[in-house]
């Protein structure tokens, strides 16, 4: 009896395949847990399927989708253009500087609720000063690599 028990616990790992041993275990555990969660909350799952997901809301009530998707979109544009402009002026950090100025100005305009002349002035100053300060202090004084 005890003999079979110890042999059950025996594991041998082929070195060539050892990179897959732990990931396989983790994936199995993840799948098992997902199944367990599904079984425990089966009542809710049935409910969701029955109502075709009517009770599910990914976004909050009154979600500001304009600001959310603008943020994501602007970030993507920011990253792509930063890489592109950065290659035009290699190792100067200018790609970062120029794109950050545009990005901060654009995102501030997306987030601001009441546009007045003084608010615009604050946004413009912020968009110019913040990237310049970071570019100068971090890029030039501290020698940190910038795109």
């Amino acid at each position: 009896m005890s003999q079979t028990l110890t042999s059950l616990l025996e594991v041998s790992i082929d070195f060539d395949q050892s990179h897959l041993f732990f990931p396989k275990l983790v994936v199995t555990l993840l799948a098992g847990m997902l199944l367990l969660i599904a079984v425990i909350h089966r009542a809710r799952l049935v409910e969701i399927v029955r109502t075709r997901g009517a009770g599910l809301a990914f976004f909050e009530e009154n979600a500001d989708k304009f600001r959310l998707f603008s943020t994501v979109g602007l970030i993507v544009i920011y990253f792509v253009s930063m890489d592109y402009v950065g290659q035009l002026f290699p190792n100067t950090g200018l790609g970062f500087l120029f794109c950050s100025i545009a990005f901060i100005a654009a995102l501030s305009l997306v987030y601001v609720h009441e546009v007045t002349r003084s608010v615009l002035l604050v946004i413009a100053c912020n968009a110019l000063i913040a990237p310049l300060a970071v570019w100068y202090v971090l890029g030039s004084l501290f020698d940190i690599t910038l795109p």
């Binding site: 110890t6 616990l9 025996e10 594991v11 041998s12 790992i13 070195f15 060539d16 050892s18 990179h19 041993f21 732990f22 990931p23 983790v26 994936v27 555990l29 993840l30 847990m33 367990l36 969660i37 425990i40 990914f58 009154n62 979600a63 500001d64 989708k65 600001r67 959310l68 603008s70 943020t71 994501v72 970030i75 993507v76 920011y78 990253f79 930063m82 890489d83 970062f96 950050s100 990005f103 901060i104 995102l107 501030s108 305009l109 987030y111 601001v112 609720h113 604050v122 946004i123 968009a127 913040a130 990237p131 970071v134 971090l138 501290f142 020698d143 940190i144 690599t145 910038l146 795109p147």
Partner: protein
Amino acid sequence: MDFISLLSPEYFLLAAAGSLVGIIFGAIPGMTATMAVAVCLPLTYSLGLHEGLALLLGLYVGGISGGLVPAILLNIPGTPSSITTTFDGHPMAQRGEAERALKICIVSSLVGGLFSAVILFLFAPLLSDFAIKFSYVEKFLIIFFALTVIASLSSNMLVGIFSGMIGVFLSLIGTYDVGVGGNGEYRLMADFMVPYLEEGFSLLPVLIGLFGLATIFLEAERGAKDEVGEKRIQLTQGTPFKLNVFRGQFVNMLRSSSIGTFVGMLPGIGGSAASVLAYSQQKNFSKDPSKMGKGAPEGLIASESANNALTGGALIPLLSLGIPGDSTTAVLIGAFTLQGLQVGPLFIGENLDTWYSMMIGLVFANLVMFGIMFFAIKHIAKVVMVPKYVLYPIIIMMCVVGAYAINYGIMFDVWTLLIFGLFGYVAQKIGLEIAPLVIGFILGSSAEVYFVKSLESFGTLSIFFTKSPIAIVLWLMIAASVLFSVYLALKARRNSKSRAIEV
């Protein structure tokens, strides 16, 4: 005593600056201490180890403390850990005792912070001396224990451990590194990803994405509105602050600080658990529990001494075992890696100077936090009003600097930032828990090495039970944490049932 020569004026200046910036971050609702540390990490790239750590410790202490300001003035917790401060703080502010409430909280924060620093100083070296004897088997069990603790204290045990496992899974993407005894093969990715993900995802962009960008996305969805208080609050009317408010509160302070330190030591449990636990304990022991929640100083004392005691507590497992106690210390791990240092059982013994200078930095940051908040509280209170349209774009820019510079200019790290920013946003939407996920991500690859190597050398699973007495003790602790969570779940179920009957 060589470390004294390491403490330059610059060192103290950075710790002070860290506290100040941290307080500001903490005071702005939606920004947390974790975010402060993540966003300011790039500043440490070119600083020395000691100066960098001084800055980060200042940010940590300041960030946790700053949350009390909007909690009292606006009834909005600035950080999750000051949630219980709103219970008594805001009623006091409405009575015109805002300054009194703020000062009670500041003193309690100082006591909690210093208490936990002392515990850290005494306890971390002991724990690491003990942990040095650990072999791969015990190291794996420690990580396993950490994951069960996270699971047992998260709001839903199964989801907590599921999130942790997703973190482990993400950490395995890349090469099974030859340097730790792997075979150098790729796994969990398609061929086209190999050039980018050869080394897996870099830790810091992942952390900055999860804690920085994801928060911005959540806030953007809410419209990035500025917080508006119900009405203008008068700082000083009514009862002025006097130290005698602490008379008879010694036991409360000690208990709350101990709870905070202990909760901090448990991996993956945030500050909100510490303050909620301390607050409810104080309610149990209070002479007049009916006053709590209506502006009782004892509630403030419990809440704030507990959440500041978290700081020292969370550093204990980080420095002695290499396991972060909360999400902020998880980001601190990144700072250590940046400086080429590995935290773990050997850390304190081999880096005594760093250890002493960290302790001094921690105590100093607490004192500066106290000084700034106690004497300049009126000005700090105004910081809450910085418009978000100014702040958020700057934060995103800082996130980019941090991600790009970490490996000296790799654009993929910046994309990692966005990937994990979106992932963190979606994960929080569908109910996954970020703290266990991050801890799983940090510990995942070590867990693999410890587990696979133990099995390769012993060839049987039974070794995890029979290796040493320590292994058995660890299994008992694992069992205890699982039993505790089952007990909690049953209690919660019974409570909700009895409430249903009452209704």
